[in-house]
Symmetry: C2
Subunit: 264 residues, 2 copies
């Protein structure tokens, strides 16, 4: 839209359908995941409820990643179309005032006509946090996976590099997925320690053009076996080559996982 | 005790009263403070319940700082006397297995005969965290005070220096205190920004030989007025000199406050 449209909101309101892109952060602890479920507290429902209270419109929003129950987001991208006439900044403030305290909209922007957060995404970046300190960090218990053994980050990082590139990742896909194509390109996969307040965390960051169901959590569970010294550096690559989910490590729990960025 | 004592646990058990010092971290969110209250979830009760389950002894523990409801601790010190014969490391593991997930014992040590955490303390250090980012950090909502205006840290730090030293701090004491002497020595008071994951926090650290009731939270509320530009740098010193609680800033909320260290 241009400034002429904005000068006549009534006309605009009746004629123009806007496509909106939201950038949303949430603490996934108390949500049953992103996607709508009847009588459950989900991210989608919370956003749609807030939009209804602000615009009066009953609509469906689309998320770039349908995060599972307990999974967090630093910058999830959500799209919807609306006939409301709010400026983006005013819409952000209005929606934020209607959202619960464990969610916040970081940005509202007008998007190209037809924009849909999931179909337009060219890639995503996830982060996984692990608390492997000598004593458990009571402040991290909903935000990082507690592992009772100090992990060898160097081994994990070397193993991780063998998963980078274009591969068939079906060994790291959980059952229950509808994805027929299982080839993905992992652009980056790094394992490092970063300070978080008085503690440090093992941080695993992974960026790919797309992800299979539970792919990040299965990769993390597999790399942790290397970090504990229970499997050699070459093992994740062997799991990948086997194309068999059953030999991979455990699926790491959801509360350590964060959707960090969606690329368009 | 020496190694001879440890070689004969039965004899020791019957004859020796040990004084134990615990270092404890907790997320204060879901506790009604440190001190025992009937039918309430308190730190003291949780520790005493765990000690009972491990040793069979019904006893009272003493904390160095009786933190209020919602206040956290990174290293609270707690003392008690016992006739149990566990080695400190074994006692730590046993107690931790009995504690809820929002508490953890970091250290168990034998203490000098007669040791009491509160009376032996020579000073304490507190930290206060403020989230003043452009968007609220959903992961900090129970761990930092959300302030909707970017604070000027330099002004706050300059004002803070005027509170260092030995003064009568009654202007920063809330009603309901039993403390008759209101002179304390603030050894250090610093205001700075520190990274916490992807965000930063305003961190106010204060160390003193002792604290009046709600003294830290009242100082924080007063410094924030300076950080917002609503009061001049000289104002906290004026509040101090007035010896009148009514003119100080608001009492900052409990969930940003951490007991960081107790000095002996």
């Amino acid at each position: 839209m241009n400034s002429t449209d904005r000068s006549d909101p009534t006309d605009w309101c009746e004629k123009k359908l806007r496509f909106i892109r939201l950038t949303v952060a949430y603490d996934g602890t108390d949500f049953c995941g992103f996607q709508f479920q009847p009588n459950r507290r989900t991210i989608q429902t919370a956003l749609e409820d807030a939009i209804f209270r602000v615009t009066g419109e009953t609509l469906r929003v689309v998320g770039a990643g349908r995060t599972d129950a307990g999974v967090h987001a630093l910058a999830q991208v959500v799209s919807f179309s609306t006939r409301c006439v709010y400026e983006p900044q005013a819409l952000r403030r209005a929606l934020n005032s209607e959202l619960p305290e464990d969610m916040v909209i970081l940005e509202v922007a007008d998007a190209p006509h037809g924009f849909e957060a999931i179909n337009y995404a060219l890639g995503k970046r996830y982060r996984y946090l692990i608390d492997d300190g000598a004593a458990r960090d009571v402040f991290a218990r909903r935000q990082a996976w507690r592992v009772w053994q100090r992990l060898n980050i160097s081994l994990m990082n070397q193993a991780a590099q063998l998963l980078c590139g274009t591969h068939d990742f079906r060994s790291f896909q959980n059952a229950g997925s509808s994805r027929l194509k299982t080839v993905r390109t992992v652009r980056e996969l790094i394992v490092e320690r970063r300070p978080y307040g008085d503690h440090d965390r093992v941080v695993i960051e992974i960026e790919a053009d797309g992800f299979l169901y539970n792919m990040v959590r299965n990769i993390v569970g597999t790399l942790v076996q290397v970090g504990k010294g229970k499997q050699p550096i070459s093992w994740p690559a062997e799991v990948l080559a086997a194309q068999n989910r059953k030999i991979a490590g455990m699926c790491a729990p959801p509360h350590g996982l964060y959707l960090v960025k969606v690329y368009y």
